[in-house]
């Protein structure tokens, strides 16, 4: 009985530890759990969409529910699954790669996670409170202005919350990379995943404010009677589209650049060669980010911007193929002549290159403004962006899971199940989406609830749905793999892959202070340099000394609860003014926490030298 009591206490202690943590590694794991949960939710929605489209004039779900499904699938996958999963990886891995003990603002990091998570929960509360948002993930005005019920209000407040969380994480990563690199870690010695984290954070910093502004305008229009998007009152609904895509296009690079970073780590490791054209890769990353801000109107070619604007944006769009091409060739040359090991992580990386290239090619096709009039809002577009987002981002996430799992959880994912998940998911992915190119070219529009029979769309849609089941199976195998590994997985050494970068120089999983002594970095791929020219271990850059660590805090969570409550108040105050109480109470709670955080000194704690010496290497 006493044993059960200790176990119970241990569980609540672990829970409390995670609720109050400011450790970048635990925040990273929280991001992965939260993002993983929403990924499964988004996947379930995708499966329901595909079942609805399995045969002509199907009535598996109603038209209204279908609209909610497509909206929530898109919103969930972009904002609540892909972005947080990548941010989780960055959170965990990036500080280890630059030899830092935490991110620059640990408190802010925890707050960022809780804001994202509460935003996601808020958005999904709409399912149980009278219907989810149904104006598409882009929420174009005037449709989003006129959408009845509170669905779109949940969209506005949910994204506002999670967007704020993402923005503050971006700023945090920027400061971390600029100011917290280990001695010798110059900019041009940073691993490519760190570089892409940096550029992604710049994009986040510049792109998310546009979304914030757009969401505020939409919020005022829906809840407080303004008319920014109401043409009848002198507003302009196209402004929403501009604001959304000024955010939205950089957002797709926020997703894909870290994916590029992941592959730029995995391919050199398993090819036993340094990354080909490192400086060209860094340059291409910056070029993609720079051009990424000048192409948003290619989502709006059919709005009627006029031939001059359309042509400018078309040319800028096609220009992005150049830096992306540089990257593709550099990955190929990295593998050229290398001694290649093929395991689950490498399989995802190898599958990424052709899959993503197909997506990039259809991207250039869509970028041609004349041709786009034919493709616009058809399944061709759906096929295109699933090729880049699934073939790029999801493949990267799964590859990264296999690659960094030992580092994060101390156990190696099961290879057999990893390969099974890969092959079923990979085949399912191409089954689902390749045929959709042709469905689109034959004229099947996206977002339609049903299609008619004998229009040549029946077989294609059936194949597509079968593919979706393959992908589901692959995902389930991956989940089983996680559970199996947690129970019976092989224990991982510090450096299971014979890898090249700093995160592999410390134990798996790392101690909570990461580096006992900060390492001295002598070049690109520091661990590899020490393996080939040194004794295989990093030289410390400082004598063993006290380590200053931040204290945990429950304030981020309480602050988030405040904002969460206030969001509900904002949504329902249109029905009854009494709900304003929730707004005031929630804001008071949140601002109260900020005041406490500002006025109460928290100097953290020190790990003593003796304590560090006691622990073995």
């Amino acid at each position: 009985m006493s044993n059960a009591a200790t176990q119970k206490r241990a569980l609540s202690a672990v829970l409390w530890d995670y609720l109050t943590t400011v450790d970048h590694k635990k925040v990273g794991i929280l991001y992965l759990i939260g993002g993983g949960f929403f990924f499964l939710l988004g996947g379930l929605e995708a499966l329901i969409i595909r079942i609805q489209l399995i045969k002509p004039e199907n009535d598996f779900i109603s038209a209204g529910l279908y609209n909610e499904m497509i909206t929530m699938h898109g919103t969930t996958m972009i904002f609540l699954a892909a972005t947080p999963l990548l941010f989780g990886l960055m959170n965990y891995i990036m500080p280890l790669q630059i030899g830092a003990r935490d991110v620059a603002f640990p408190f802010l990091n925890a707050l960022g996670f809780w804001l994202f998570f509460s935003g996601g929960i808020l958005l999904n509360c709409s399912w149980f409170l009278g219907g989810a948002p149904d104006a598409g993930w882009t929420a174009y005005a005037p449709l989003s202005i006129q959408s009845p019920g509170h669905g779109t209000d949940f969209y506005v407040m949910g994204l506002q919350l999670s967007g704020a969380g993402t923005l503050m994480s971006g700023i945090n990563f920027l400061v971390t990379i600029v100011s917290m690199r280990a001695p010798g870690m110059t900019y041009m010695r940073m691993p490519l995943f760190t570089w892409t984290t940096f550029v992604t954070s710049v994009l986040t910093l510049f792109a998310f404010p546009a979304l914030t502004v757009g969401l505020f305008l939409l919020m005022f229009d829906r809840m407080f009677g303004s008319a920014f998007f109401d043409v009848a009152l002198g507003g302009n609904s196209v402004i929403w589209q501009h604001l959304f895509w000024i955010f939205g296009h950089p957002e797709v690079y926020i997703l894909i650049l870290p994916a590029f970073g992941v592959f730029s780590e995995i391919l050199p490791t398993f090819s036993k060669k340094r990354l080909f054209g490192y400086s060209a890769m860094v340059f291409a990353t910056f070029l993609i980010a720079f051009l990424g801000f000048m192409v948003w109107a290619h989502h709006m070619f059919t709005v009627g911007l006029g031939p001059v604007a359309n042509s400018i944006f078309a040319v800028a769009t096609m220009a992005i193929a150049v830096p992306t091409g540089i990257k593709i060739f550099n990955w190929l040359f990295t593998m050229w002549g290398g001694s290649i090991v093929i395991n689950s992580a490498m399989l995802w990386a190898l599958a990424f290159i052709p899959s993503f290239t197909i997506g990039g090619m259809t991207g250039v096709m869509l970028g041609s403004n004349v041709a786009d009039y034919q493709y616009h809002d058809s399944y061709f577009v759906v096929a295109h962006f699933h090729y880049v987002i699934v073939g790029g981002v999801v493949f990267a996430l799964l590859a990264a899971c296999h690659y960094w799992w030992p580092k994060m959880f101390g156990r190696i994912l099961h290879e057999g199940m990893g390969k099974l998940a890969f092959w079923t998911f990979f085949i399912g992915f191409h089954l689902t989406f390749f045929i959709q190119h042709f469905l689109g070219l034959m004229g099947m529009p996206r977002r339609y609830w049903v299609f008619l029979e004998n229009q040549g769309l029946d077989t294609g849609n059936l194949i597509s749905t079968i593919g979706a089941f393959f992908m589901t199976f692959g995902t389930l195998v991956f989940l089983v793999n996680i559970v199996y590994t947690a129970i019976k997985g092989e224990k991982a050494p510090a450096d299971p892959w014979d890898a090249r970068t700093l995160e592999w120089t410390i134990a798996s999983p790392p101690a909570f202070y990461n580096f006992k002594q900060l390492p001295l970095v002598r070049g690109l791929d520091p661990l590899w340099i020490e393996k080939t020219e040194g004794n295989g271990k990093m030289t410390p850059a400082e004598p063993l000394d006290e380590i200053h660590m931040p204290n945990g805090s429950i304030l981020p969570l309480i602050m988030t609860v405040g904002f969460f409550t206030a969001s509900f108040g904002f949504i329902y105050q249109t029905d009854h003014k009494a709900w304003l109480i929730a707004v005031y109470a929630g804001m008071a709670l949140a601002i109260g926490c900020m005041v406490i955080r500002s006025l109460k000194d928290d100097h953290g704690f020190h790990i003593s030298k003796e304590e560090l010496e006691r622990e073995a290497d």
């Binding site: 920027l174 910093l205 501009h242 000024i246 801000f293 000048m294 006029g306 604007a309």
Partner: protein
Amino acid sequence: MTENTSTNKINSFQKEKNKDEMRKQIITFALMIFFTMIAFFAVGMGISSMFVIPLILILAIVQVGFQFYYFMHMKDKGHEFPALLIFGGIWVTFLVGVTFVTIIWW
């Protein structure tokens, strides 16, 4: 820049540098006051707005430059990334402004 501020430890080189820095700060400050006065007088004297508005805008841009480079130390070493981010932000804002003016409202 973790410079030691206790006076008895500052060497003569540091002293000279601080003096130089102070002189620059004062010159910049005086110039900014001067620019502001020009702006006020230009409006006060009733010169045509075709001339006054561009003048004030140019003066404003110069003053923002002074603010960033002298008072906020962007001219010093180690400020490359803040500069990159600020100019990046200006570029993005400029693009958005141009687009909205030309293809939405024109």
